[in-house]
Every structure is written in C-alpha cells, then in structure tokens.
C-alpha cells in the first residue's frame, strides 16, 4: 500500500506553494493566491467535516428521541424514576472505564483544545460522547445534546487534521469547522453554527476562519434537512413590538443575566458537592440520576432536553399557569445542576434555552398582570429570554440572537432579541470574568488566544533564545584581573559564579565604568562586592513571569537557571527581537 500521508503531504505542499518560486515584484499577489488556495483546501476539508457532523447530529438527535419515546411508552408509573439512574450509571461506566475519556462539558474541552493544542481532542471522544450523551439524555438526564455534539464535531475535525497530517494551525481550524457543523446540524440552523463557532470556539474573524466555517455549517444543515426534513424548531409568529415592550427587554435581559450567573454557580456547587462523595464515578452518576428521576416523577417536563416544555410555552392555546412555569424553572435548574454535577454527559446549551424560555414566559405573564397597555405577547418574551440566557451563560450574545431567530424562522423578533441578549451579557460579565466554558480555563491561565501578547509569549521557549557569548567571572576576582578579562568581552555584563558554578549575581560594566581607571582601587575591589543581586529566571516558569522580573529589576539581562545550574543570560532585547519575529510570521 502506498504511504498515504507522505503522498498527501507532498501534493498539498505542491498545491499550496505553486507559483511561489522566483523573486519578482509580483510575489505579494502570488502570495495572496497561495492563501486563496489554502482557503480552498480548508473549505474542501470543511465540506467533509460538515457532512459527517450533520449525519452524526441527526443520528444522535433521532436516537435520543426514539429512546425517550420508548421509555415513555413503557408507562411504568413510579418505577420510571430509576431510568435516569440506569442511563447515567451505564453512560459513565462506558465513558470512564471502557473508553477512558473524561466527560467534561464538551464545549470547554473544545475551547481548551483551541488554546492549548488540538491533541486534547482524541478520536475516542467521538464514540464516547455519542453514546454517553445518548444514554444520559435518552434515559431522562436533564441536560443537552449540544455540548457533546460540539465536542464530537471538534474531535472529528482534529482526527481529520491528524489523518491528513496537517499543521497545528490547520488542525485547530478544522476543530472550529467541526463545532460549526455540529451546531448547525443539530439545530437545523446554519447561521447559528457559523456564529457559534466564530464567537465562542475560534474567536477570530478572518478569511480562513469564516469561509470554510460557512461551508461546514451549510453542508451539515443540508444533510440534516435531507434526512429529517426542514423542520422549524419553534413556530411562532410575533406581531409588532411596542416601545414599552422593547424597554421591558432591558429588564428581562438583566433578569436572565442574573439567572445565568446563578445557573453557572449552581453547576459549580453541584460539582463540588458530588466530588466530595468518595464513591466510584458511575455510582455518583447513578445517585444523581436517581434524584433527577424523582424530580421527573413529579414533573416529567424537566427530564431530558426539555424542548417539549419550551414548545408548550410558545403555543398560545395550551398556555400553562404562572405558578407552573416558575416551578418548572426551579426544578429544571435543580435537575440540570444535579445531572451535570454528578458527572452526566451533556451540555448547558439546551438547559439554558429551556430555562430562558421559562423565565421569559413568566416575565411576560407578570408584565400582563400590571396595568400596562400594548405589551407584547408572552411568547415573545419567552423567545427573548432564551436569547438572554444563552448570552449570559455562554457569553455569546450573537449566538443567542441568531439561534432564536433561526429556530423560530422569524426576523421580526430581531430587536427584542438583540436588546435582551446584550443586556444579559453585560449583567453576566459584571459578575463573572468568563463564561461557563471559559471560567475554569481563565483561572488556570490556559485560555490563550491566537494573536494576543500571551499567545506569543507562551510559544517562545527560553532555552532557545539564551545569550551565551558572555564571559563569566569568579566572585573573588580583583578589579585588576577583571580589566584583563573585560577587554575580551562582547557583552557589557558579566555573570558572577561561585565555587559551585552557581550564579550569585551579575556585574554590569555601567556600574563600575566610572571607577575603571582608579588604579588605587585595583587591589581593593573584588567582583563579588560590586555585583548586583538579581532575581533569577528558572527554566520552567512562563515567559510572562520572566518579563515581570525584568519589570521589577529594571535591568536588560537576567540569569537563567535550571535548578541550581546556571544556563545563560536572557536579555530583554533578544526576547523582543524574537517576539517581533513571532508577530511577523503569524499568518492571518
């Protein structure tokens, strides 16, 4: 069999660099042609990813609904409370013990991979997340399929990138395309997939990110429509929106913003609570599943994704009571926290939407109780609440706006959606630095976006840029002998080593220059007494910490050590030279 990777690599390089030879004045325009070819290659890959993502998204959605239907048709009465426990237990056993995967929130895994390297998304995630979420959500676990399908899409992109032997930059882009395809496929919403991927996953709006993401979103949506038909998730016709209602959207945004903060914090609390139970992971999940099953016995609507409840909220004819809606929001809040906290495989996307619709509906109902004229329908507020909740929880206002707009297939709602989403985002980011997805990463300091200062510094390696063309001196050296040494020097600093070859300080020529020609000092001054005690940079610390040391010590060169061993000097000028080079080569 021929070596596919080698052949592919050669053909790809040939294709990408065609016309780049020669050094004439047209090189720049030729280079543009090369980036266009690169985009073409990536678009082709995105097409493939989009198609597969579409199939997987539809497959997952269909299997979950079939499983739900099967369970409800069994009609077991109170015994049904054991199903979520069974499903969650088996799912976690499968994922953790058989497939050796962690069951994170899905989207955070993908965001982390975008920052730290696509290797984190392994191929086994495709199966483990698929079956894990199928069992968790299908059996009644109160969470969503979107998180898992996004990580499936990301893992798919990463796997394709590795199979094609692509570089890290391209692999990360493929992960982003996969996420777009996944969201577009599961919601039947191409724009949402595109916006979600650009806003939350890739975080970069350029030629090479937008075009292929569009292809992935379009192909995934089309596959989903071919299989399932072009169904609009929530049919809702909203008439005009009065100014009073528009202003009310600010309040609704603030409300959903606060609720999204509470939601995010309750998730953390449940996680902490369950991590204290020192039992095997799948037993924890079973306990969580059982609690959710009990909740579901009293109110079956909180089980599974819960979109059916949202559909009810949006339909005028079968509108529930205000008390029921509030209770639903509370129980859904609890059920989702328990499901995810106990380790269930799922995401926060669907719960956010469902809770948001409940909050919005309740808000609208309360508004109608007040003596106000021209307030829009309750359902309109339910839709705005969904956008607000997505914006608040995921810190993605655009995603929220476009998702609701596409899911209802109506442009008429655009103004209230925009207002609610943006005010929810403002309120939410007032209390929290990052979203549900990025908060942990920010805390660990591992959310590093391409093109930022931190990204550039993160990728500079101290060892590679050390200065070594200096002369080291002993601390006992007399000024007289130093003068002989310094004639040979190329640098204006001299690291001082003790008997054990450890760096104890640095002598700067500038410090002693005024006294170099005072011959009565020649035998009086030892180098140990004129050296400066400087902070040392240890090899395993990040460059940002090293830069802080430059800031505080106000010198241009600092010694670098590994343990006690002196390796060389890091100079600020060399560092910035390399920093600039890194900036220059960053392609768009």
């Amino acid at each position: 069999m021929i070596n596919f990777k080698k052949l592919w690599r050669r053909q790809l390089n040939k294709f990408l660099s065609r016309g780049l030879a020669g050094t004439d004045a047209e090189l720049l325009s030729r280079f543009q042609a090369v980036s266009a070819r690169e985009a073409l290659v990536m678009m082709t890959a995105a097409l493939a990813i989009g198609l597969v993502c579409g199939i997987l998204a539809v497959g997952l959605n269909w299997s979950v609904h079939s499983l739900r239907l099967f369970i409800t048709e069994l009609d077991l009465g109170w015994r049904a409370i054991f199903f979520p426990a069974l499903g969650a237990g088996i799912a976690i056993f499968l994922v953790r013990s058989l497939m050796h995967d962690s069951a994170g929130h899905g989207v955070s895994d993908v965001i982390k991979a975008m920052a730290m390297g696509s290797e984190a998304l392994r191929r086994r995630m495709i199966y483990s997340r698929f079956f894990g979420s199928l069992l968790t959500v299908g059996s009644g676990g109160s969470t969503g399929l979107e998180g898992p399908i996004v990580s499936i899409g990301g893992a798919l992109g990463s796997a394709l990138g590795r199979w094609l032997d692509m570089n890290e930059r391209h692999k990360k882009l493929l992960v982003g395309y996969g996420a777009a395809g996944a969201v577009a496929g599961i919601f039947n919403a191409p724009l949402t997939g595109l916006i979600f991927s650009l806003e939350i996953i890739i975080g970069e709006w350029t030629y090479l990110t937008i075009l292929p993401t569009i292809i992935a979103a379009v192909s995934a949506t089309e596959v989903s429509r071919l299989i399932m038909g072009n169904k609009i998730a929530f049919t809702q016709e909203i008439a005009g929106f009065s100014i009073a209602s528009l202003l009310a959207c600010f309040a609704l945004g603030a409300l959903t913003g606060i609720i999204s903060i509470l939601f995010a914090r309750s998730l953390l609390l449940w996680e902490k609570f369950f991590s204290k139970i020192s039992l095997h992971l799948w037993i924890r999940a079973t306990i969580g599943g059982l609690s959710v099953g009990v909740l579901g016995y009293f109110m079956p609507e909180v089980l599974s994704e819960g979109y059916s409840a949202t559909q009810v909220f949006l339909t005028d004819t079968i509108r529930p009571e205000l008390g029921f809606v509030l209770l639903f929001v509370l129980l859904k809040f609890l059920a989702c926290g328990i499901t995810l906290g106990s380790g269930g495989v799922g995401g926060v996307f669907a719960p956010s939407l469902v809770i948001g619709s409940g909050v919005g509906l309740a808000f609208g109902m309360i508004l109608h109780l007040l003596p106000l004229n021209g307030v829009a329908e309750d359902a309109a507020f339910a839709l705005a609440g969904m956008a607000g909740m997505v914006a608040g929880v995921m810190h993605g206002p655009l995603t929220g706006i476009f998702l609701v707009m596409e899911a209802t297939s109506g442009y008429s709602m655009i103004l209230p959606l925009m207002l609610t989403a943006s005010s929810a985002m403002v309120v939410s980011s007032f209390f929290e630095i990052g979203s549900v997805y990025t908060r942990e990463l920010i805390k660990q300091g591992s959310l590093i976006k391409r093109g930022t200062d931190r990204y550039l510094l993160h990728h500079l390696n101290i060892v590679d840029i050390l200065d070594k063309d200096f002369i080291t001196i002993r601390e006992n050296l007399l000024l007289r002998d130093f003068i002989d040494e310094f004639k040979k020097a190329r640098r204006n600093y001299f690291p001082v080593l003790n008997e054990e070859k450890e760096c104890v300080g640095v002598v700067f020529l500038d410090d002693i220059r005024p006294h170099l020609f005072e011959s009565n000092l020649y035998d009086l001054v030892t180098m140990g007494s004129v050296m400066r005690n400087l902070p040392v940079i240890s090899l395993n610390e990040p460059i940002s910490a090293a830069l802080d040391k430059f800031e505080t010590s106000k010198v241009w060169s600092l010694p670098v050590v590994e343990g006690d061993r002196f390796l060389g000097m890091l100079s600020k000028s060399t560092l910035f030279d390399h920093y600039r080079r890194e900036l220059q080569i960053q392609s768009i």
Partner: protein
C-alpha cells in the same frame, strides 16, 4: 493623601514619556479623568490597572533614592556616623582585631557572628591596606539588604599591625566598610581611597580624633575636593 495623580506623577511612575501618556489617554488605554482641561489619575485605579497589565510601578522609595544619587558625598558622612569611632582597639593579631570589630559595631546578630570570618577571607584574597598605615577591610561580597544602611566603622588600633600592605608599613587605623548596596560600595570605596591618601589626612588621623572631629574633617575635605 495625594489620591489624584497628575500627568507628571504618572510619567515618574510608569517611566514613559509625557507624550505617550497623552496618547494612551486619547486611545482610552489608561483610566483618567479630565477636570478643567487637566488630566488626573486616581491612584488606586491606576495601581490596579497597572497590576492587571503586569506593569511595574516605580515605588516611591526607589524614586527618592535615585534623587539622592548626586549628593553621594553626604552618604560617606552618614556611613561614618553610623559606623562610629572606636579608640585603642586591642590588635595583637588580625583575628583578634576582627573579632573585636564584629563585637563593637552595632549589627544584626547574624552578621556579628560571621563578620570576622568574612573580613579574614577577604584579607586572604589580597590585602586591603592602602598604604601609609591605613586599611579598609570589607567583606568580599556586599551584605546587601541584611543591613539597612551602609556604614564605615573607624577603629584606631592599640598597637600597629602588619596588614601586608603594598608599602609594607604597619597599619594604625582601619575603616571597616559594610555596604548595603554594591553600587554604593564602589562609590564609598573610591571616595575613601582618594581622601585617605591625602598627606594632611594622615597627620590628622595620627591623633586619634573623635567621631565629631573625624566627621568635621571629612566634610571639609569633601568641600575642598569638589
């Protein structure tokens, strides 16, 4: 209680040109308030801003010290005062002398214990005698932050002692130099070596002057030489 900083203060704190500060204000990169067409910076806001951007603010103490650099002459006087003068110090051997030095000078416990050894170690490297019966013993590595202020202890010896000085003359007075900063060390050492080689100074020292006289004399010599 200066809670509001002016542009000049911020220039000092951040070590960037004034024009850069104004550009940052224009670009909205630095928190700032404008009152009566003048720019003011809230101190605590600025501090937290600098922290979030990993910018090191120049501390006030450091600034003061830098201002003091030109008046380095008074530093020697201060060091002499801090070190004090001791008369008729027993000096049968170098070891005994340095033990006596360590005990008499007002130093933290940790330094008192190791000072004699450090001075001996330096002496073994090469003599600190500068001729005409004078020596400037000091540790071969500056004490740095272990002491709060540089000091020069003046010790008149009971009996002159051979320091293996270049001119071979026995030493009758030593100035023990303990510096808090390697940069000051060199300055102090250079000044002392220069002053103490004056012929007049040598005669003056032969009379074992008191601290006040010594300080007075040094001040006069400093005034003459500059």
């Amino acid at each position: 209680m200066s809670k509001w900083l002016t542009v000049a203060d911020v220039v000092q704190l951040l070590h960037v040109p004034e024009a850069t500060i104004y550009r940052w204000v224009r670009q909205g990169d630095i928190p700032c308030t404008v009152r009566r067409r003048k720019h003011y910076f809230n101190q605590s806001t600025l501090v937290s801003w600098a922290e979030s951007k990993h910018i090191h603010l120049e501390e006030h103490t450091r600034r003061n010290r830098k201002k003091n650099v030109p008046v380095s002459q008074s530093r020697l006087i201060e060091a002499l005062k801090a070190g004090n003068v001791y008369q008729a110090v027993p000096s049968d051997s170098l070891e005994e002398l340095f033990q006596e030095v360590a005990l008499r000078m007002d130093l933290p416990q940790l330094i008192t214990e190791s000072l004699a050894e450090q001075l001996m170690h330096r002496e073994q490297l090469s003599s600190t005698g500068i001729g005409k019966g004078i020596a400037i013993p000091h540790p071969s590595i500056t004490l740095g932050q272990q002491i709060t202020q540089s000091m020069v202890g003046t010790f008149f010896l009971e009996t002159p002692l051979d320091f293996k000085a270049p001119d071979g003359l026995p030493v009758f007075v030593i100035f023990v130099l303990l510096s808090a900063d390697s940069f000051h060390h060199l300055q102090l050492l250079s000044q002392m070596a220069r002053f103490l080689s004056h012929a007049k100074m040598n005669d003056f020292l032969k009379h074992s002057p008191s601290l006040d006289n010594l300080v007075d004399k040094f001040q006069k010599t400093l005034a003459e030489t500059t």
